[in-house]
Symmetry: C2
Subunit: 125 residues, 2 copies
DNA sequence: TTGAATGCAAAAAATTTGCATATTG
DNA sequence: CAATATGCAAATTTTTTGCATTCAA
């Protein structure tokens, strides 16, 4: 795995703005100026970074996946339908559900990959 | 809301094959023969059916949404990463998590909209 | 009859691919 | 030096939109 400028710039963009879609990353990487990075290189960089575990992606909603630096404190993503805010909660909060799913269905769940939709405190009030 | 042929055919396709993507629905509706229904009409029919609550959609993975007839027994979707099988579980299995999320974050979760990724019993063995 | 819905074709949006060139290790 | 990664352009894929025509109520 080579360290290249596009990969470094994509990773930098993700630390500046986690939960970015590919499009947002493309824009951010290029907004910074310097040699432009074409979309195809951004897509390939994301793929590479994800493969070595530096980056992960999550599906927050019906749109494109969002990428962020891999976090060893895995977390659940909670997305508000009204305002779009993304809350995070330790993945462990779902441990009882995960255990139940395994017992009931023999299914080993990864609750961090897909967000949970709902409505946040502020929008409810 | 008018009852029209395209809408009836789209709904019929969903009862025959729930969890279909728009593309699959387009194919199924037209495979049946008869007057072809163009993609735009399928998309519009899905939107209309969803609006009146006859149909819902769920995000099973990174691909297109999948549609199915609305079910008053709401359920969680469990998707196996290896084989792609879609298991269902009563939404109530997540009640404790939902309660916890509300208490901790004031977030009212709808756990049925996004599937949970993981690995099914058969693929694990 | 008449407004809602369709069908068609074209546009838009998002992602992928092939290939020659440049670059890392 | 040799294999990997980039940049560019074109091709795909998926979904949306405008508009004249048709059809359900």
């Amino acid at each position: 795995m080579r360290v290249t400028a596009p990969r470094e710039r994509v990773y930098a963009a993700l630390t500046e703005a986690p939960h970015s879609t590919p499009e947002e990353i493309i824009e951010r990487v290029n907004a910074a100026g310097g040699t432009p990075v074409p979309p195809s290189s951004v897509y390939r960089a994301l793929e590479a970074l994800e493969e070595i575990g530096l980056v992960t992606h999550t599906h927050l909603d019906h749109r494109a996946p969002t990428y962020h630096p891999a976090d060893h404190n895995r977390h659940l993503h909670l997305v508000c339908r009204s305002c779009g805010v993304v809350l995070e909660s330790p993945a462990s909060i779902a441990d009882p559900l995960v255990a139940e799913l395994e017992q009931e269905h023999g299914f080993v769940a990864d609750v961090t990959h897909m967000a949970i939709q709902g409505e946040c405190r502020r929008c409810r009030s």
